[in-house]
Symmetry: C2
Subunit: 333 residues, 2 copies
Amino acid sequence: MKALTASVIVFSTICLTATHAQAEVRNEPIKVIEPYVSESPEKVELGKQLFFDPRLSMSGIISCNTCHNLSYSGTDNLKTSIGHKWQAGPVNSPTVFNSSLQIAQFWDGRALDLKEQAAGPIAANVEMAMPHTLAVDVIQSIPGYRSQVEAVYGTNQVTLDHITDAIAEFEKTLVTPNAPFDRWLQGDDNAITEQQLAGYQLFKQAGCVACHYGEALGGKSFMKMGLVQPYESDSPSQGRYDVTGKEIDRFMFKVPTLRNVAITYPYFHDGAANTLEEATQIMGQLQLGRNFTKDELANLVAFMESLTGERPKISLPLLPPSGENTPRPNPFQ
Amino acid sequence: MKALTASVIVFSTICLTATHAQAEVRNEPIKVIEPYVSESPEKVELGKQLFFDPRLSMSGIISCNTCHNLSYSGTDNLKTSIGHKWQAGPVNSPTVFNSSLQIAQFWDGRALDLKEQAAGPIAANVEMAMPHTLAVDVIQSIPGYRSQVEAVYGTNQVTLDHITDAIAEFEKTLVTPNAPFDRWLQGDDNAITEQQLAGYQLFKQAGCVACHYGEALGGKSFMKMGLVQPYESDSPSQGRYDVTGKEIDRFMFKVPTLRNVAITYPYFHDGAANTLEEATQIMGQLQLGRNFTKDELANLVAFMESLTGERPKISLPLLPPSGENTPRPNPFQ
Ligand code: HEC
Ligand code: HEC
Ligand code: HEC
Ligand code: HEC
Ligand SMILES: [Ca+2]
Ligand SMILES: [Ca+2]
């Protein structure tokens, strides 16, 4: 009996470590990222295939991964994205890494969650330019997708809802835990350098943390870009004003996550800042009315570099072959 | 001593099975594909990263994988490829699966091997549009590439030669063994259907095998497209004539591999045939002066469907972050 109890305890401890990262031992406004464990690995696999499938675009060559490159930063690292027919989009592509940790999606928050979000780019003319009915027809026509939808959703009549739900479930797995800063939060004093620690102290003391807090250091609120001093941009976006039409929302943007920010250049909704140093200087001036010294800037940047986490290890999906009646792409439409 | 010998024998047997597929037991003009085992896994890994890296393109969004999608067929499945600034290329993109099994690269054979080939698309204006010196500068500026080049080639001065050599080594791993037809060649009578077997017999008897033979069912010779009856195409390509300038080479194309041909639609150097049935009918008429019946066509297509092999299982590479001085992409240049 005693032996049995002991092994039950061991077993449940293992389960715990498998599903939860060690919590932070330091009490800070920034929290560690926990790995996400899906209850439906089949749904994740289906969503992964769809994320990588260029057949969801009119041209046949653009997938979600084109603009949110999971090999690198979860973005395309362009000022503004390039989509169907080489059209330049109006705003910078945010990373999909840790996007599930936000209260809303898009710079202006016009989608409530990842599922609602995923319908957008498929049909958007400057992105994948694929009418939703055609996207559904394509997936429905591919035997290997039909059978997966059947297994996950219990019907072989594919809907847009299945497509976006599966993609969203896959995206939830795209968290990047175990950044040096997370290990510091968990009690490892040597996980970050002295300079990074100094940067973090300034980050709190200067007030960056008022907007960039929580697991994602952002993603939890909308704030005005250009609080103290106005921001000048050549982008047409007016932030949340475009969604609500209320004057008070003009130039309110979702505070972006600073997770992996060292590799998600260029910065801001218009992609106008090329380096982290430049973005930080602008933040200081426009949001806090403060001019950082060269050393202060270097410390803040060093701190943000400690936020680069472990990118998910993903096996390249093998996409199910098209069926006889799968509509063919039309790159010049 | 006896035990030792026995285990040595067991060990070497395992090694053998690990590096060689079981040879065919049937004596046929088509041979099984053997898996490729590289002597330098580090070089393969470096080549894989480069294959997936869009920083090798002027726009920052096109990688080798854009036009040779390893998630699907090793091609882009377009009539002709779309490259930098949405330009349509002159010819159909061939699959990179099993391309190492060919005597030369490109439809007109203008590159002798994969290493020579890889330099082409990087600089080609309708593909990645990236001057070679800039491509080398980009790779040289990325610390994680510099260290890998150092480990593989013993110098941290990156050259174009390193880039193309590593990509070529990765491409050699992209073979697709174990197709149903390979298992039939290895003696498994049930690996293919009666219809597929009938199709194979017709494939030999009609004379397809005169051009489509060997491991890759093609890739071993240049043949005239339109041997019996001329082929009409809107493509500017004149085949090997474009390379040699000799009249005799006009419209001579490298016989393409039929491995995985069921998923490498559309067909021919100009991508003009949409289905395998259509391509087969044209081959019969133009190369052999023969009109296949509906049943004959169905059998030939069924046989070719038995040539879809196991696509390599690839883990998505995690690309090394850009350095401070890494040149940024210029999508509209
Ligand atoms: C042509 C480029 C392009 C393609 C293709 C594309 N996206 Fe995006 N994505 C963007 C841009 C640009 C934005 C920002 C738009 C905005 O905020 O108004 C964005 C925003 C997002 C967001 C919100 C992130 C955040 O923090 O607010 C998510 C999630 C996302 N995309 C996922 C996807 C998925 C899933 C697909 C495929 C179904 C996809 N994207 C296809 C460029 C693209
Ligand atoms: C009042 C709220 C607020 C404060 C304070 C603030 N930020 Fe921001 N931060 C934002 C918003 C909103 C954006 C997005 C602005 C845009 O894209 O137009 C942003 C963007 C950024 C970006 C660019 C991220 C990206 O991916 O594009 C960085 C880096 C950044 N902030 C760092 C800082 C630092 C460092 C501080 C302190 C010196 C700071 N922020 C203070 C709200 C704030
Ligand atoms: C914009 C599309 C595009 C890009 C990007 C591209 N290719 Fe290609 N590739 C093609 C086309 C089209 C051909 C056929 C050209 C010809 O035969 O004249 C081709 C031919 C090839 C071949 C010869 C295959 C055969 O059977 O003859 C190989 C190998 C290859 N590419 C590998 C690569 C590598 C490696 C890269 C990246 C360094 C790359 N390609 C980038 C479109 C592309
Ligand atoms: C005399 C040589 C020759 C014979 C005989 C021949 N082929 Fe071909 N085959 C070629 C060449 C050359 C091409 C490429 C033509 C082009 O792209 O313009 C080709 C292309 C093909 C393609 C398209 C492959 C692709 O990926 O685009 C298929 C399918 C095919 N052949 C099947 C057959 C079948 C089935 C037969 C017998 C009925 C046959 N071939 C007989 C030389 C031959
Ligand atoms: Ca960015
Ligand atoms: Ca083809």
